[in-house]
């Protein structure tokens, strides 16, 4: 492919991917009370922030935002720790135990989540944890999804085994080996796991709907979902909610993109 054609393809891709996002942002700036636009409207004739003000009156944005931040603020680091420890531990196991553990992780990936709904509901109910934020954070104790464990394992496995042995001979404990030798060599993967965990917990609509119905513990996805019932002339409010939901994710991505796209993990594995 020529360079010009490559650039053209990239531009097309970018437009296809970004257009919906752009329409949501511009749509949220449309003045309230006007009839819905008949076609695509790239920029409203008379932009206004009135939809955001209206949003704040309809739903307790501050409370929703606080709950969502609490959940992700705890669940994301917790996922990172559990996934990283589990992935690291897998590299330290003997061949046979490792195969068993990996098989188990992959089997768990195949279990459809709805199968767990009832069991979890009963569990949280018995523990008295229904209608608290705990059920929303709890999946992080199991690394959110076995996928994050497999990702961490694959990253750690690229580090030659002799490095673990060298560390052990020097007297490093399992903790020190993970912290000083393993973790610094898998930064890109760790960031990727953080991104996966954030996306899951920030947008965790189902768990919130099932286990956290009480007004005080609602999170953004559940709170904002109610707006679907608004009528077409209030569409800018729905768009404003969408922007509110997407904004932290975008900001987070900006912060970590450098690490995410870096080749640190690969360089480390290539050297030996």
């Amino acid at each position: 492919m020529t360079r010009g054609a490559g650039t053209a393809v990239r531009v097309v891709l970018l437009v296809v991917l970004l257009l919906p996002a752009a329409l949501i942002v511009t749509g949220s700036l449309r003045r309230l009370g006007l009839p819905a636009p008949s076609g695509l409207e790239l920029l409203p004739a008379d932009p206004s922030l009135s939809s955001y003000r209206d949003l704040a009156q309809r739903v307790p944005v501050g409370l929703l935002l606080r709950n969502s931040l609490v959940v992700t603020g705890i669940a994301v680091p917790l996922t990172l720790l559990v996934a990283s420890w589990a992935g690291f531990a897998l590299t330290q196991l003997g061949e046979r135990q490792r195969r068993f553990a990996l098989g188990a992780a992959i089997t768990l990936l195949l279990v459809p989540l709805p199968m767990l709904w009832v069991a979890r509901f009963v569990l949280y109910l018995r523990l008295g944890l229904l209608d608290t934020l705990v059920p929303l954070i709890a999946p992080a104790l199991a690394a959110t999804t076995p996928f994050t464990v497999l990702l961490a394992y694959r990253a750690f496995r690229r580090i030659p085994a002799t490095q673990w042995e060298a560390a052990r001979l020097e007297g490093a404990s399992a903790w020190q080996t993970w912290r000083r030798i393993g973790l610094p060599q898998v930064k890109a993967t760790t960031t990727a796991i953080a991104a996966i965990a954030f996306v899951f917990h920030w947008g965790n609509y189902l768990d919130a709907l099932l286990y956290a119905q009480y007004e005080d513990v609602r999170t953004l996805p559940v709170g904002l979902a109610e707006l679907i019932e608004l009528d077409a002339s209030d569409q800018p409010v729905v768009f404003a909610a969408a922007v509110l939901l997407a904004l932290p994710a975008l900001l987070g991505l900006l912060v970590v993109q450098r690490t995410l796209l870096s080749t640190t993990d690969r360089a480390a594995a290539d050297m030996d």
């Binding site: 003997g94 061949e95 046979r96 030659p160 002799t162 490095q163 042995e165 060298a166 560390a167 052990r168 001979l169 020097e170 007297g171 490093a172 404990s173 020190q176 000083r180 030798i181 610094p184 060599q185 360089a267 480390a268 050297m271 030996d272």
Partner: protein, 335 residues
Amino acid sequence: MTSRLAVEGLGHRHAGSGTWALRDLTLAVEPGQVLAVVGPSGSGKTTLLRLVCGLLRPTEGRVLLDGVDAAAVPPERRPVAMVFQGYALFPHLTVRDNIAFGLAVRRVPRAQRRARVDEVAATLRVDGLLDRLPVELSGGERQRVALARALVRDPRVFCLDEPLSSLDPVLRVEARRALSALLRADGRSAVYVTHDQAEATTVGDQVAVLREGQLEQVATPRELYARPATSFVARFVGTPPMSLLPAAALDVPARADVLVGVRAEDVHVGAGKPYVVREVEEHGHEQLLALDVGGIDLVARVPLVMNVRVGETVLAQVNPVRIRLYDGATGRLLP
């Protein structure tokens, strides 16, 4: 005198496959000595090192360090340092942090750590590289950093796994000399694993030849060359190795199944029986002739001035005093 390191009846069996990687090995290394361990891949060399430094537990037998059974001593408490094949440097740490790693995890005070690293780095001429990352080093520099990391804990015994295998041939000779001196300094001892018999005989005071987990022979390089204890050692050691031929082919009076081992320098060319030259290999100041003896090669070492071509017939005879006889069935050297 108690040996610095001794292994007695040492054996290790793979937990998974149940095969023995090493079996019934008894060896000793004295202070200030280097034991070179040589053998083809899969002969159990690396397993021996891992047992000595404590990364593996023996299935049977014992490892003795200065006369004390090491079974109860964890790897980090043994006075043993390991240089891994490929060096296993930590790629994300600077040379200084690589060398200081063991001191850091043992919480040695920072100032003391610094002084010790500086001292060791100077010994190994890596003091100019302390702020670099391993990727920024040449092969020879990496090797010296790995040695420095091993040396920093002041070990009594060095375990080295193919320490020169990732260096280019020119550098290898130089590194081998430097290594030889360092390993013996201050009464230290070393177990030096290599698959290269020439390297083993140059570095080792004693050379142990392993094959499929069993000891074939342990001897000084000179003894190993002059009297290989088995036909395997005879075929493995020396450049070129011994030629092994059936007794009848060389008219040696012995049982029919006896193999006769002949060093290339013990074949005299110029008199004797006629043989066809199958191959000529020039080596600087000398050449090696492969003579066809009933379909088997008898290698002779002759001066370069002798003008011989492939296909010619030359007269040759074997010095009968210098030959070794091996049992055809067991491969053992016959008295």
